[in-house]
Symmetry: C2
DNA sequence: ACGGATTTGTGCGTATGTATA
DNA sequence: CTATACATACGCACAAATCCG
């Protein structure tokens, strides 16, 4: 009758039940033992179905009496056009940067932890900055976390790594090199501008990929959760690539937003759009 | 000595070998049977390790003599600022749209298959278009594929679904409704403009998520491959949301690119950027 | 066109370890 | 401490896909 594999029958049933809301986000799913009885199959078959539900991002697991539960998504947006490019009004007095500002407008509390290290450029970073691979660079890492006001637990939401060539990272203002300070810093116009660098253009690249092991650990990612990678390359008025900001965020917690005004003259001169 | 689980020893060894290039993209990995002997563990333990390598996107599998192979990435970029917004010059005579144009500049051949259906708005689409859920809409789907010149096989790269309200989808030019035509259409200024609609603003949302079953099938995604979802909402001069273009692409084949000019006046008036 | 060899896919049963409430 | 539930691990058997001669 049913040509589907046994694990797939279980998979389809559970998936349908979840999508129809019979199990709400956070609900506990039946334990393996119970499904073994209900379907009359081996435990490994049930586990196969669950493994795939985890891969599909619908279910997460924890040993003990938590069992398997339906995943929920937080859906925080991050506006990449307002960020740096546009009209954001930040609060230097409160020491809040633009990401935090954006997130707080959506009803979250935000914080970040900063670490600065010197290290050889990974291949991809070298390509972005247009330098030799393994050039010594400075990496300013910010682990950004959010929580609902009143909540106790912080949820890590983003790893934001800025990479700088040595001469830029070590530039000083008033006797200190702000990019090397391991704390949350805000400066009028942004740190980079305060160092006398005029960024005139950004190139953004956005990718969807599976996390590296380190990222999965830092972001507390359940198995099978993809990440978004947002790389912003800053180019100054000399055409030099002065830094790249690589933001890695959990796909189930955050998305990126752009707002673009249509260039009417370009559009009318344009030809052939097959929307 | 080694507190790692047995499967993890195998996982770490293989992962390191792949990352160090001992197995190049496309290379075949040792079969399960051989690793069972080498490590002296059960086959299910080896399979556990491989399952996680597949989840991490490093390895893909196929029964028979193909065995397990190291995955490669194609890395096609897709410029979201030039697309519709910017200065692209397309070729109406050749009937090439902007996506194809972009891809062909990177040395690929491109084609797309178009299907148009009428259907109830899914919840997410309804939110994007700001209409009631289940409103009848038209969906214009384009399956976009690429290949290297000279190659035989087409690789599906993107599912591009445009959703329109009924009154817009059925609008006619010269007696035909171009949005309902199931073929590749290009028009001067784009189809939408030719229908008398002036889009003045786009809102783009980008997400990283696991594919739905249908998407995995259409894009021939190996297990554990995430997708990028790029939604472009078009807003006309009345403030109406006239369409949403939802592009779903394989994370291992394509990424999105934006080029942004920095608004210097906004930036200098801006305060507090903690790059 | 077919058959055999290889390799992964599916499935069973069982046992023990580990995390959680 | 204990019951529950998932994690890891062993071994076995047969099915299905693929490639090659």
């Amino acid at each position: 009758m049913d040509s589907r594999a046994r694990w797939q029958v279980v998979y389809d049933d559970l998936r349908e039940a979840i999508e129809q809301g019979k199990y709400a986000p956070g609900d506990q799913l039946p334990p393996e033992r119970e499904l073994v009885e209900r379907y009359g199959v081996a435990r490994s078959t049930i586990r196969n179905a669950f493994t795939r539900l985890e891969q599909a991002g619908l279910v997460s697991a924890g040993a003990g009496s938590v069992g398997r539960t339906v995943r929920s998504s937080l859906e925080i947006s991050f506006n990449a056009t307002k960020f740096e490019v546009g009209e954001y009004q930040d609060d230097v007095v409160r020491g809040v940067d633009q990401w935090a500002n954006d997130v707080e407008h959506q009803g979250w509390e935000a914080r970040q932890q900063v670490t600065v290290t010197q290290r050889a450029a990974p291949a991809q970073v070298a390509k972005w900055l247009d330098v030799e691979s393994k050039t010594r660079l400075y990496r300013r890492r910010r682990i950004r976390s959010v929580r609902r006001p009143g909540a106790i637990e912080w949820t890590p939401a983003m790893i934001a790594d800025s990479w700088f060539p040595e001469d830029i990272a070590t530039r000083q203002v008033n006797g200190v090199a702000p990019l090397l300070e391991e704390r949350d810093i805000t400066m009028p116009g942004g740190i980079i501008a305060s160092l006398g660098i005029r960024q005139v253009k950004f190139i953004d690249e956005l990718r969807s990929r599976m996390p590296r092991d380190e990222e999965a650990e830092l972001l507390l990612l359940p198995k099978g959760t993809p990440v978004g990678e947002h790389a912003r390359i800053g180019i100054d008025d000399q055409g030099r690539r002065v830094r790249v900001l690589v933001s890695v965020f959990a796909g189930d917690r955050q998305f990126v937003r752009y707002e673009l005004a249509v260039n009417q003259s370009a559009l009318s001169g344009n030809r052939g759009e097959s929307s």
